[in-house]
């Protein structure tokens, strides 16, 4: 019983982390029509930045914020200085994100070396919460809570504001959105850097569970891709459902069928690609 409860909790906590990783990734993918292949790098950079801030005596929450802002700033620069120059050249943009992901990986290796950096959860969150005879890892519950708050905030932004409606209009029909005067290039910067910021936050929040190590980027990027393919690019609800679905598949796959974990993870993605290529919550491209 303890096994199932703990695995379930781990799955939802990991799902929350995946939502931080992939919600912005999905929105940017839906709007700009390109997968940002450096997104895993953004997450890893967030983990290293957070671990570094804590290692020089910073508070954990300051580290989370600092990593988010730092990576968000990198996102703004990347979009404004590089992606923008390749506007209209989708292939070039995708290749550039791949190139930047390699650059980030190499820089991290250079700065933080090949040894993993650990980042302990804040001390006040280390003792488990006991409920009904079961011990729940407090930190994971907090990560889940933060993800839910971020989800609610993104929902309000996307569904209740004019900016959000403009972003959705751009996802629906980019050309027509421009034709009614929506400043899409500004939206690109906002959405892209928001995604980077959330990945940066997520990297630090995830570090107590995952550590910061070379290859973290390449471990996380496929998960974000699966979430987006399952949920549909540009769909916030899709990213939400997809994140938790992948959280469960990943945790239970590894715990129950370690040899088949990747099969279990990728099979639903393949099925969705074959039978519903726009994703479960995505729209049919017009």
């Amino acid at each position: 019983m303890q096994f199932w409860i703990i695995q379930t909790l781990n799955s939802v906590a990991f799902g929350g982390l995946l939502f931080l990783l992939s919600s912005g990734f999905s929105l940017a993918f839906g709007l700009m029509r390109i997968p940002n292949l450096a997104h895993g790098g953004f997450f890893m950079l967030g983990a290293y930045l957070g671990a570094t801030i804590v290692s020089v005596g910073g508070n954990f929450w300051v580290a989370v914020l600092g990593a988010g802002l730092g990576v968000g700033l990198i996102g703004i620069l990347f979009e404004r200085l590089i992606l923008r120059r390749l506007a209209g050249n989708v292939q070039g943009q995708v290749l550039v994100t791949l190139g930047v992901s390699f650059i980030i990986a190499d820089l991290c290796l250079m700065i933080w070396t090949g040894d993993p950096w650990t980042l302990p959860a804040p001390s006040e969150l280390r003792p488990p919460i006991r409920l009904g005879g079961f011990a729940f890892p407090t930190f994971r519950l907090v990560v889940l809570g933060i993800a839910l708050v971020v989800a609610a905030a993104l929902y309000v932004l996307m569904d209740r504001t004019r900016l959000g409606a403009m972003i959705r209009a751009g996802v629906d029909d980019m050309e027509m959105a421009r034709g009614v005067g929506i400043p899409v290039s500004l939206l690109f910067t906002v959405v892209f850097s928001l995604g980077a910021l959330l990945a940066g936050l997520g990297g630090t929040l995830g570090a107590p569970m995952l550590n910061a190590y070379p290859g973290l980027d390449a471990d996380m990027l496929p998960l974000a891709l699966i979430v987006v393919i399952l949920g549909g690019a540009g769909s916030l609800l899709g990213a939400f459902v997809g994140s938790f679905a992948v959280g469960f598949l990943y945790n239970f796959g590894i715990a129950l069928f370690p040899d088949l974990a990747y099969f279990i993870l990728f099979l639903p993605m393949v099925l969705v690609l074959v039978f519903r290529p726009q994703g479960l919550f995505g729209r049919v491209a017009s």
């Binding site: 004019r162 209009a169 421009r178 005067g181």
Partner: protein, 238 residues
């Protein structure tokens, strides 16, 4: 020259290597309605796309009150006051009716009687009833009203309408016709692309007929009505 609201001159446009517009040109005078006619696939939509900046002309000028806007970005052109009701309506399907209108709202200092949500709802009460509904779930006629309302929210100095009657039942075509007449009566300058020749001849002041990317006839609506030969030759009916 600058008295013309919109003047297209010698415009060439391509899709990749395929040359679609061959030196097209026409002028819209203030407060008038110009009907742009032509058979299927002659380049009418391409012409609208080029004016709107969706497609960059390789040659020629597109001037709005004397200012060349050829080659500008669509969002810039839209903000200068060219608003499009596109062929196929292209409403933002996953936005509500109200959101479709709100995202297109633009203020312009020189508009005497600016368009607002309330004014669009007064023009199309049906849209008000459905204001919270997803645009993708509207009927064809309602989507057409929404596409028109969305263009009006931009406070157009020039309104481009690309086949607004396409695919609508006859009574809805008549309704769209009445709406266009009303907008014209308010002094809006309009380019109306249509396959419905009768509707166009009833509404238009001036007619331009396009054939395979070139203008083959220009005249007033009255002259066009009297010129069966031009109509038969270029539009293939009557």
């Amino acid at each position: 020259m600058a008295s013309e609201t919109l003047a297209i001159r010698d415009v060439d446009a391509y899709y990749g290597d395929s040359h679609v517009l061959h030196g097209i040109g026409f002028a819209l005078q203030p407060g008038r309605l110009l009907g742009l006619l032509g058979r299927n696939g002659v380049g009418k939509t391409t012409c609208m796309a080029t004016i709107m900046g969706f497609l960059r002309p390789r040659r020629g000028t597109i001037s709005l009150f004397g200012e060349n806007v050829a080659g500008l970005a669509p969002e810039t052109i839209a903000r200068k006051g060219i608003c499009l009701v596109p062929q196929g309506r292209r409403v933002f399907r996953s936005l509500t009716v109200r959101e479709n209108l709100m995202v297109a709202a633009q203020t312009r200092r020189d508009s005497a009687k600016p368009w607002s949500l309330d004014r669009v709802f007064a023009l199309f009460p049906r849209l008000q009833e459905r204001h919270a509904q997803m645009a993708g779930s509207l009927s064809g006629g309602e989507q057409q009203m929404l596409a028109i309302g969305r263009a009006l929210m931009g406070n157009p100095r020039v309104l481009l309408m690309d086949e607004p009657s396409e695919g609508l039942a006859p009574q809805l075509v008549a309704e769209v016709g009445r709406t266009i007449a009303q907008l014209k009566a308010e002094g809006l300058s309009i380019v109306l692309v249509e396959q419905n020749i009768k509707l166009t001849l009833d509404l238009a002041d001036d007619i331009v007929i396009v054939n395979t990317g070139v203008v083959v006839f220009t005249g007033t609506a009255a002259e066009t009505k009297a010129n069966d030969a031009a109509i038969a030759q270029h539009l293939g009916i009557f």
